[in-house]
Symmetry: C2
Subunit: 653 residues, 2 copies
């Protein structure tokens, strides 16, 4: 039997249709169609609430002891375990009270930011596809009685004659191999050249090989994250990513956040250890990236790395002491090009390591890499670039000017400080909707596992959903007037029961408390206030923004409508919000492919004004105004206030 | 008794007078006065030939069993052991047959080239006294809430604000110390900066120290000679040489000449060993130079080195294989600036090592250093710069153009290939004159020791003297018509007995053979032919030369008249012949004091045309013409031919 790869799912009575991959769960099909189905157990089939009726077509599974055999014979299935196998028609049962078409009762479509990447073809067309470390094949004239030029001078002369490359510096280690290499294949060699940033400076000959190896030139992009180190192996001739991967930063054993690691680094030998651990992490990834690839480690001629300022300091064994102490001064924001193996990377002697410069102690090379990799630094549009994590780093501006700041959001977006918060891992509630009448939730978890807790992006959607239907008010308090057992007095104030103990993996109720909401509001408020303050410092308002670029792990999962609803992101059309993924890694990759990025980054940094938000007087006012959902000022979030007013009118009317 | 420091010595019957230091030997006083006294034993009092009569004044010593007591009472003394203690009048006895005033019978005054050095004051006045590695004292503004600049950027900013220095590169090792150092003495630091050659390139910060150390900046100049390594410790603030010294190149145990060492270097680990030995030699000197000086090794911020191309290759561990194989191609003629301790020198991590570039395999950095240090590269006079050793390297030109070549002279000038030849050491005959009638010699040895042999400069004077008085003819044969036992048939042809066995330290006759003369003529002929050929290649003749600069050990001892008489140097006024001593060392010192030398050397090398004499067709003819004393062509040596003609006229008339 030939099964279709894409299936059409039609839901009755609304008639809504979605196309999706065969093998998808019915509940996710409903979610995709914007339809709510009560469900609490995260797709494990335990709660038995998500019953639907299959009217036509093939569905596998969805049968359990929760469904009486008679019902089962009638086509009743559990939506969370039933798998679509063909075009199907499915009826939502009355037990799911969501009425299609009724205002505010649909599950909104999740608007994730569209992915934006620098275009390699564009680079090529603009003549900017010039990797910082390139290979050149040379056929040198043999020395004879009329040409006594030294071996090294001979190479330099040919580089000029054959490629128009001037000013090449040859270091001692290469000089030591030159004579032999030249004579190994009759004066045919491949020279590996590292370009300078400054056009008047000298290029550096990193390596000479006998014969033609110019078609084998690989690079690495490495994002040194506080939690995870990500890497990509890049073919520098095509721009292709050959392999990619990540691994935990082994420094994690000495503290989850940068501050605790900086403190550890101040102990005797602590800095050495931090350096070794991050090197080990990077070296593990390098090994992984090369596994099963027909590429030798010698063929990697460069690696570009980016990390926040603290991570970069620890990696280079620069003392981070004053990064965390007022007035927050790093050792350096620019880092010299280095030999990769001089700093502990398991690469060959001729591989260059290039590090993204930072702006300040709290706006690091990872953000700069994002600004470069996303192309923000050369756009004419007034753009907000933002990387949201424990700290939110933000850059505002365009090709003419840039202003940046960092603010501490706290760990709420990573599930920290939330009673049932957790990292984005299997079992974390990642999507949520609520029946505005019954207040019955629809819970979707990562990996369709029994719910374990709430991850950051889930928290955002939960709070937005509860706020949209009036369960939470503007100040983040639960509406005590609602007739529901789900709102109750908990150990630390009021709380909302998202999942009952029986349906969870933790066998305790999963709740959202007012304290959780407070923490979340403070986090989003800090960020939004930061955006407004930074804009204010350059005489602009959020209405002037033409584009938002999200970077970082959180950015990829963030539901844009929810983010606007709660007042985390400015109220604007979701199409104007782009996502670049790991901006740091993207910047590293682009820099591996175009030396122009390395040139431009210097001037970009130079025109990047850094603001210390805590020192801007207006920040505090902005912050206080942001401690509401979405904000005290309705004029800043017109679409949210309008939609909410319409909902209440519809509900009450 | 108060003894005078300078004494007036009057010789009778000629009435000649000389002033000299008290304590000088009478025989040297006579030599100084241009008077011949027969003597063979080198001043040991053995031969007893050098008797003189003291007419007035005080003389110590000069008494031995060779002088009968009666004679002694009359004031007869041996000139070679008698020491002048006051103004004295001395009569030369009849046994010394030299008649004052008779043409050709005086001992000519020795015209050594006058010493020429680059003038430090001149450098200062021209604003060129800018060492390549300097120290700068900086008082940095402390970081505060309005100034978060990173430590490294803060230093760079102050370098610009306080000293107008831009574009400074800070490497990782310095970055690692910056934070601590800045805070050790309240943001007062001394930065050690290595300047680039190219003005657009970046200066390099080598070191930071807490406090003000800007008045402590020392450098080293090192000449890596094949035989001897010389060094000078230099105060880079004043230009003074604080100490200097030399020591044998420890590579000597593996061969006296560069070729045998290059051959050794081709063996497995041979190059390593050659490198280690020369480093040991240099390190020994560095230790010696610092002994008893109140200077720490950390205060040496740079070392400039020069050597011939082979020595430089061995020092840097560059394979010398093709230097000695046609077409004679070195690995490189330019050498990158290095960290001194990266190449095995026992200096601190922040000391720079700068190496003089070479022109070719046979015109090395030592010659280039001489051309720079002597100022030849910026003179308007048409100059011949020549360093005479086993190889003679020569450069012709002025500030507008330069042509260079090397020719193999063989070891004759260093006493090699000469039956009784030896190095210039105690006991070597260094000066000589002959009584043209009796053919009795006057022998002076280094250190007034019993004669051991003949050194290069002595050989030159002996051959010139014998030629001047007709003992040797133009083709280098002994005149068999002379009535003297001193010319005899030896084991390998005719020879001239300089010292009889009894008067020597070797207890064998010290002789000069016709084979020795042949070897000498071939050596001087190769050099003179080289000079003419090189001049010819640029359309000039020896008559166009306005100045000769001699460099190297041989040059300091060379008697200019003798050198012209035998046809080694062109026939010109001795005042036009200058001596720069160790040109290589001089160049290194000047380069330690003025970065302009480093800048200029690049352009100087670029306009230095190198000629391979063996490949110039006219060289062979020039060489054949030079195989005579002084030359086949009388027109090239008018003064020599005129003087010799006058001598014979006087003798025969």
């Amino acid at each position: 039997m030939n099964l279709p790869n894409r299936c059409l799912v039609t839901f009755e009575p609304s008639g809504r249709q979605v196309h999706l991959a065969r093998g998808e769960m019915v509940i996710r099909a409903a979610r995709e169609a914007g339809l709510h189905i009560n469900s609490s157990c995260g797709g494990t089939g335990v709660c038995g609430k998500c019953r639907v009726e299959i009217l036509a077509g093939n569905v596998d599974g969805g049968v359990s002891e929760k469904i009486p055999e008679a019902d089962s014979r009638q086509g009743i299935r559990q939506a969370c375990t039933a798998v679509v196998q063909s075009d199907v028609t499915i009826r939502l049962l009355d037990s799911s009270s969501l009425k299609s078409g009724q205002l505010g009762t649909e599950v909104p479509r999740r608007n994730r930011a569209s992915i934006h990447q620098y275009d390699i073809t564009e680079l090529q067309e603009e003549g900017l596809f010039i990797p910082p470390v390139e290979k050149f094949y040379l056929e040198l004239p043999r020395p004879d009685h009329s040409d006594h030029q030294a071996d090294a001078g001979r190479i330099i002369r040919s580089m000029k004659e054959q490629y128009g490359e001037r000013h090449i510096h040859i270091g001692l280690s290469v000089l030591r191999n030159v004579r032999r290499t030249l004579r190994e294949d009759d004066f045919r060699i491949t020279a590996t050249i590292a370009r300078p940033v400054n056009k008047d400076a000298r290029a550096r000959m990193m390596h000479v090989q006998a014969g033609d190896w110019s078609n084998r030139n690989y690079g690495l992009a490495i994002d040194i994250g506080t939690t995870t180190v990500y890497g990509q192996l890049i073919d520098k001739l095509t721009g292709d990513v050959i392999s990619e991967g990540g691994s935990y930063n082994k420094q994690l054993s000495y503290g989850e956040d940068v501050i605790s690691r900086m403190i550890y680094a101040e102990k005797p030998t602590g800095l050495d250890l931090m350096h070794e651990l991050v090197c080990e992490s990077i070296n593990t990834i390098i090994k992984d990236l090369l596994r099963d690839q027909p590429i030798s480690i010698d063929e990697i001629t460069s690696v570009t790395l980016a990390g926040n300022t603290a991570m970069t300091h620890l990696f280079l064994e620069l003392e981070p002491h004053n990064i965390r102490r007022s007035p927050y001064v790093p050792v350096s924001t620019f880092f010299p090009p280095l030999r990769a193996n001089d700093i502990g990377l398991c690469l060959s002697e001729h591989a260059m390591a290039l590090l993204f410069p930072a702006v300040s102690s709290y706006v690091g090379g990872d953000i700069v890499a994002g600004v470069m990799g996303s192309g923000m630094y050369r756009t004419s549009k007034l753009t907000l670039f933002i990387d949201i994590g424990t700290n939110a780093e933000m850059v505002i501006g365009n090709r003419d000017w840039l202003a940046c700041a960092a603010c501490s959001a706290g760990p709420a977006f990573e599930g920290g400080g939330i009673v049932n918060g957790m990292r984005a891992a299997a079992g974390a509630i990642e999507d949520f909707s609520i029946d505005p009448f019954t207040l019955e939730p629809m819970i979707l978890t990562i990996g369709s596992k029994a719910p374990l807790g709430i991850c950051g992006s889930g928290l955002l959607i939960i709070i937005a959903s509860l706020f949209e239907c009036g369960v939470i008010d503007q100040s983040g308090r639960f509406n005590q007037d609602l007739d529901t057992w789900r709102i109750r007095e908990g150990r630390s104030g009021h709380e909302f029961v998202l999942v009952e103990a029986a349906d969870t993996a933790i066998k305790r109720d999963i709740v959202l408390t007012e304290v959780d909401i407070d923490n979340f509001i403070r986090a989003k408020g800090a960020i939004y206030a930061g955006i407004r303050t930074l804009l204010g410092e350059v005489g602009l308002t959020v209405n002037d923004l033409e584009q938002v670029i999200l970077a970082g792990g959180f950015g990829s999962y963030i539901d844009l409508d929810s983010a606007i609803t709660v007042g985390l992101l400015p109220d604007m059309e979701p199409e104007k919000i782009l996502y670049v993924g790991n901006g740091s890694l993207l910047g590293c990759r682009m820099s591996e492919l175009s030396n122009h990025i390395r040139k431009d980054v210097v001037s970009t940094i130079m025109r990047m004004t850094s603001f210390e938000l805590s020192e801007v007087p207006s920040y505090k006012d902005m912050y206080v105004g942001s401690l509401f959902l979405p904000h005290t000022s309705a004029s800043l979030f017109p679409s949210v206030f309008k939609r909410r007013a319409a909902f209440f009118a519809s509900k009450n009317g």
